[in-house]
């Protein structure tokens, strides 16, 4: 608070004398107009409207006037004070606007300064990719089933019609736990989750099973002993290969865009009959087999000019599997499919080296953010 202005000697204003009131008013208006900043204006406000200002003092004297003179004096003084207050308000808002404008200019910062005080986090594309796939199926009314990765041999093989002599059941393909005859393996596919589902639930069953699987593969740009798979299983009355095709077409289109559909080729898997390899329309040339090169059209490298890319395996669930898992194979039929999540992501994101997914370089993972 600033103290009383001792330099200022208030002129006494006689409330009845209009010229004195007007002169006090004019002095106030002039001072207001002259005030160059809010600080000055504050003092002007005290001087001209404060308790000791001429108009305030004059106002105070009104009560001492004879009743007949009070009204006129009151009106005169009130009018003058009104004019002064109005001018003050107007000047205040002008000066405040000027002040604000100046402040905003002064406070300008360089908005290109870095703001990366805390580094960003990210989720792994295999995680978010698995979720994306799960969401595509959940949106169709399916459920996501899961199971242990260290699994009973019977569930990983026998229940799926991979008999004791199936070539996959060797040390060359499967990680066995020690001792090898204890009936426990690292699952070689997510199919045991399907078996568990059939064993513990009654149809209709529509489940998708993403997860980590193990095979004693070499570790290179396109193979890994630890990888990820998504399998689907539908068991219901009247299920056919047509439903399998419809489901995979929808899946492919959801993952890779309109026009990317699937093709079936006869194949062999013990757990399905009939069985098919499922190919995907090449998402690079979109089946055209050629793409634009720098010197004109060249054969598409992604599909090697075939127009199609191998995606996974599928088929109608072998009734032997249904039987081992307690599903009435006379009443129900089913389809199953499986493909590599890692491979699917390599396609979708143009990844060159599978090992990037497992090296954990934050520069790789951070690029994918928290959703893909």
């Amino acid at each position: 608070m600033s103290g009383p202005n001792t330099d200022y000697d208030p002129v006494e204003v006689t409330p009845l004398k209009s010229e004195e009131v007007e002169s006090a008013r004019d002095a106030a208006l002039a001072a207001i107009a002259d005030a160059a900043d809010l600080e000055t204006l504050k003092q002007v406000r005290i001087d001209h409207t404060g308790d000791r200002s001429p108009l305030a003092l004059a106002n105070r004297e009104i009560g001492a006037l004879p009743p007949q003179a009070r009204k006129e004096a009151g009106q005169r003084i009130g009018k003058a004070r009104g004019a002064v207050n109005q001018a003050l308000a107007a000047r205040t808002s002008v000066l405040e606007a000027e002040h604000e404008e100046r402040m905003l200019v002064e406070e300008t910062v360089d908005v290109t300064l870095p703001t990366d005080r805390t580094p960003p986090g990210a989720r792994h594309p295999i995680t978010t990719g698995s979720e994306l796939i799960a969401d595509i199926f959940v949106a169709m009314g399916w459920e996501v089933a899961e199971g242990p990765v260290i699994e009973a041999e019977w569930l990983n093989f026998d229940a799926l019609n991979l008999g004791p002599d199936h070539p996959a059941r060797t040390m060359q393909d499967t990680f066995w736990t020690d001792p090898q005859d204890n009936g426990i393996v690292l699952r070689t596919h997510t199919s045991p989750v399907q078996a568990r589902t059939m064993l513990t639930r009654t149809p209709p069953i529509y489940v998708v099973c993403p997860g980590r699987v193990f095979r004693t593969d070499e570790y290179d740009a396109t193979h890994s002993p630890v990888f990820h798979q998504v399998e689907g299983l539908a068991i219901d009355e009247g299920i056919s290969m047509a439903h399998l095709k419809g489901t995979l077409d929808h899946f492919a289109t959801s993952m890779f865009g309109e026009g990317i559909t699937t093709r079936f080729r006869p194949s062999y898997f013990p757990f399905t009959e009939p069985s098919a390899e499922v190919d995907l329309v090449c998402f690079v040339c979109r089946g055209a087999t050629v793409v634009d090169g720098t010197d004109g059209p060249v054969t598409c490298r992604t599909c090697r000019g075939e127009g199609w890319i191998e995606w996974g395996g599928c088929g109608v669930v072998n009734p032997r599997v249904l039987r081992a898992c307690g599903v009435d194979s006379e009443r129900y039929s089913g389809f199953a499919f499986g493909m590599g999540i890692d491979r699917t992501l390599m396609f979708r994101h143009g990844l060159e080296d599978l090992r990037d997914l497992f090296e954990g370089d934050v520069r790789f993972t951070t690029a994918f953010g928290t959703e893909i």
Binding site: G141, N182, A242, S267
Partner: protein
């Protein structure tokens, strides 16, 4: 399976205009998947000609090698008719041999351009080629010596070598063993082009001499293992007879190497008809041939020179001298065909596929014969195949077929399959008529009869894979065409969506990423070294791990019990690659052996009972889902805003608290000592409500940091997510809060250094009573003013009543009560 197109066409009259690509595409659609088309003209350009070696002068060189300076008659191919001088490093040829020469101007595979060049003191005008140099086979074992009748000097060698003939390589699925022969491939080709009128001529259909009593004596002791044994003998065989060009060429095209006429002929017939044949030197056989299972302790040196201990499951061929072969898999050395063999016994036998597979696997023998025998060969062609071998041996080897014909045993007939007539249409989802269904099955060789709404199919002898009604569905579907399957979305009922656990796990991942942590996925294998690096004591439960029988690396034989080693290694890798700091997290299962015995192997003809299933699932090791976080190096960056900050123990606790808050789980934190954490900076975290152990968080032990190559003071978390998820609040109750004014009271309390913030806070909270809205530590002071062994903790207490503005007296009383409790319970003194 590599099939030369010319050989396929020998058995199926495909229209001339059908290209190799079109043939391969149609066969792929039928289930014989195209792997590659080999066309030598793509990689070799002429002049590639037949030459006759005129002179061959060996010249030893200073480098120890001996080269041959040769002159070769190449006819007019060199434009002069003069002999061509060529230096050759191989020695497997002689004067007068026919060889293959590439002349200057030619280009061999690998863009290898040939020109006349000076070498070893001669001008070598071209090259005498090996099979490998022409890209014909993988091994370079000398140059190609052509059969004497292969052609004349100067002839274009492309035709002689069959290089004009394209070869289709197919991937043959295990159920289509019949397609491991030209007979099978041609049969499929006829199916593929049936609409174009293509018909199949069966190379195995031939008149064979009837069995008689004069054949070589054979006894089958194990008719299940060997159901049929056909033996024929060719005598007067000329062991020096060379393999005719077409046989050498075709088996080379099929990926096998020509060896000798007798061996090449058996391989040729195996490729042609699909039936593996074994040839014995009949003069080395003593007494009758007998087929039986091996007895315990028996041994055999197979013709690859390996001495093998036999298993009682192995099928062996014996004579009076003992075991002479591993039946259907590999012969023994003593009775093998040699360069002096003049009497050949041809064995064409039908072996049990399972026994073949087991023997091959047991002895790690992988051969072309084994590949066919273990997948199932047409049992009916034994006699035809033997007869074809005899025909070729006598034609090109100069011998005569002995009149004796041995046929012992008989082949089982295929069981009929009965199925609803509409099953193929229903299961394939294609509108296939009854007539089309029967037509398709007949096209693949089934004998079909119809009875009402059912059909009965007897599979052809070459299709042992057809056993079930659904097998017939696949046959019908592939004949109609998989490309005809319509695309129809199934209509499941309303789904339950993601489970709560699945949704919470997504939430945990997002929360951690939001806190600046980057997710990684590591291989879940660990070795003792890493557990030592963590500093785990010998009795730590994390040292009891599930061991793998065949680990990727013997250094890491366990399925991991902790996610920290993988994360720490990835941390070090990132820091080594220049990251100033990293915060990594991983969620994944770890495993602890359950010691609950073996997991049983049940049958598959029925569902196991609930008890059996429970026993099975109980034997599977416990695999809790863990979450681990490692924070190392710079956590907040330095910048124009000021200094940065390295990760510390508190960041680890911060992550845990943030997760717990996100899931609505109240946790208790107390100090603990557990490797690999710093014993004074490790927190044990439990679920407040149940006391269940969540895990640990804090600063890593300096030794652990050093062992893994991460900076000192790196921090880590490892918690059991299953425990956290189980404790997660299901439904958040609507919070009640007051809008009356808040009253603030700050108190500073002096306590002994070993009193924890949590203890003091609990005391203050209990003392303050219901009016306390929140309490928060805002300052910790140690130093001279409070004295050694003491510390000052300053708390901000915030009071509020639900129904009124608090008076100063009320607030003061609550504060005093809080302090009084702290004094009483923690020995605190107010500053």
């Amino acid at each position: 399976m590599k099939a030369p197109v010319s050989w396929i066409r020998e058995y199926v009259d495909l229209p001339a205009e059908v290209t190799t690509e079109a043939l391969a595409a149609r066969l792929t659609a039928l289930g014989l998947k195209l792997e590659a088309i080999e066309s030598p003209r793509d990689t070799i350009t002429g002049p590639l000609v037949v030459g006759r070696v005129l002179t061959r002068d060996p010249e030893p060189q200073k480098n120890g090698k001996t080269i041959n300076w040769c002159t070769v008659d190449v006819g007019d191919a060199n434009g002069t008719g003069e002999p061509q001088g060529i230096v050759c490093g191989a020695h497997n040829f002689d004067v007068d041999d026919l060889v293959v020469c590439v002349l200057p101007g030619g280009v061999l595979p690998g863009n290898f351009a040939i020109s006349a060049r000076k070498t070893y003191g001669h001008v070598s005008s071209g090259m005498i080629c090996s099979a490998a140099e022409l890209g014909l086979s993988g091994e370079a074992d000398g140059i190609i010596v052509l059969p004497a009748d292969a052609g004349r000097p100067g002839d274009d060698a492309f035709a002689v070598l069959g290089l004009d003939d394209e070869v289709i390589e197919f991937e043959i699925n295990p159920d289509r063993a019949y397609a491991l022969s030209l007979r099978g491939v041609a049969r499929e080709a006829a199916l593929a082009f049936a609409d174009d009128g293509a018909t199949f001529t069966d190379p195995a259909r031939r008149a064979t001499p009837a069995a008689n009593a004069d054949g070589y004596p054979v006894v089958l002791d194990d008719p299940e293992g060997c159901a049929l044994f056909v033996a024929r003998v060719v005598s007067g065989f000329d062991p020096s007879a060379t393999t005719p060009g077409f046989i050498a060429r075709r088996i080379t095209q099929a990926g096998m190497r020509p060896i000798s006429l007798a061996v090449d002929v058996t391989n040729y017939v195996m490729l042609e008809i699909g039936r593996p044949i074994h040839a014995y030197d009949a003069d080395k056989l003593t007494g009758p041939i007998r087929v039986r299972r091996a007895a315990a302790g028996e041994r055999l040196t197979t013709l690859d020179g390996t001495d093998r201990a036999l298993d009682t499951g192995d099928l062996v061929v014996t004579d009076d001298s003992g075991i002479i072969g591993l039946g259907g898999v590999m012969g023994g050395e003593p009775t093998e065909i040699s360069a002096t063999t003049t009497r050949v016994l041809v064995e064409s036998a039908h072996w049990d596929a399972t026994s073949m597979f087991r023997t091959g696997k047991r002895h790690k023998i992988s051969s072309e014969a084994g590949k066919r025998n273990e997948r199932g060969v047409d049992p009916v062609v034994c006699e035809a195949a033997a007869d074809r071998v005899v025909e070729l041996l006598t034609t090109y080897g100069g011998g005569v077929a002995e009149p004796g014909v041995t046929v012992v045993g008989s082949v089982p007939t295929a069981a009929a399959i009965t199925a609803p007539l509409d099953l193929p249409a229903r299961i394939s989802g294609m509108p296939i008529s009854a007539e089309a269904t029967i037509g398709a099955l007949e096209a693949v060789g089934c004998t079909v009869t119809r009875a009402g709404d059912d059909l009965t199919a007897i599979p052809p002898t070459w299709r042992p894979d057809l056993n079930d009604p659904y097998d017939l569905v696949e046959e019908v579907a592939r004949i109609v065409g998989y490309d005809q399957v319509p695309s129809v979305l199934p209509t499941p009922g309303a789904g339950r969506g993601l489970t709560r656990g699945q949704r919470l796990r997504r939430r945990i991942g997002r929360t951690l990423a939001g806190a600046g942590c980057v997710e990684v996925i590591s291989f879940p294998f660990v070795g003792t070294a890493a557990l030592d690096q963590l500093g785990l004591p010998p009795d730590d439960p994390r040292r009891r791990a599930v061991r793998l029988a065949n680990p990727l690396s013997t250094e890491e034989p366990f399925y991991t019990t902790t996610l920290l080693p993988g994360l720490l290694r990835t941390t070090a890798r990132n820091l080594g690659r220049g990251a100033p700091g990293v915060a990594l997290f991983e969620t994944g299962s770890v495993a602890f052996p359950g010691d609950r015995g073996q997991a049983p192997i049940y049958g598959v003809d029925r569902r196991p009972s609930d008890d059996e299933l429970a026993q099975l699932m109980d034997a599977v090791p416990d695999q809790p889902l863990h979450l681990a976080v490692v924070l190392a190096g710079e956590r907040e960056r330095a910048g124009w805003w000021g200094a940065g900050r390295d990760a510390a123990w508190s960041d680890a606790l911060g992550v845990v608290r943030r997760l717990a808050a996100e899931l609505g789980v109240e946790i208790d934190v107390r100090s603990a000592a557990l490797a690999p954490w710093h014993p004074g900076r490790c927190a044990q975290v439990t679920v407040a409500e149940t006391g269940a152990l969540l895990g640990h968080a804090g600063e890593l032990h300096p030794k652990a940091c050093q062992a893994f190559g991460v900076p000192p003071r790196s921090a880590a978390v490892e918690i059991d997510l299953d425990v956290l998820l189980a404790a997660a609040r299901e439904v958040v109750p609507g919070p009640e809060f007051s809008t009356f004014p808040q009253a603030k009271e700050d108190v500073a309390l002096l306590v002994d250094a070993d009193v924890t913030v949590a203890q003091l806070e609990d005391a203050l909270r209990d003392g303050a009573g219901e009016l306390l809205e929140s309490i928060r530590l805002f300052d910790v002071y140690t130093g001279e003013q409070v004295g050694a062994g003491r510390k000052s903790l300053a708390f901000a207490l915030r009071f509020r009543a639900p129904d009124r503005t608090l008076t100063e007296q009320e607030t003061g009383a609550a504060r005093d009560a809080a302090v009084a409790a702290a004094v009483e319970r923690c020995g605190a003194a107010q500053r």
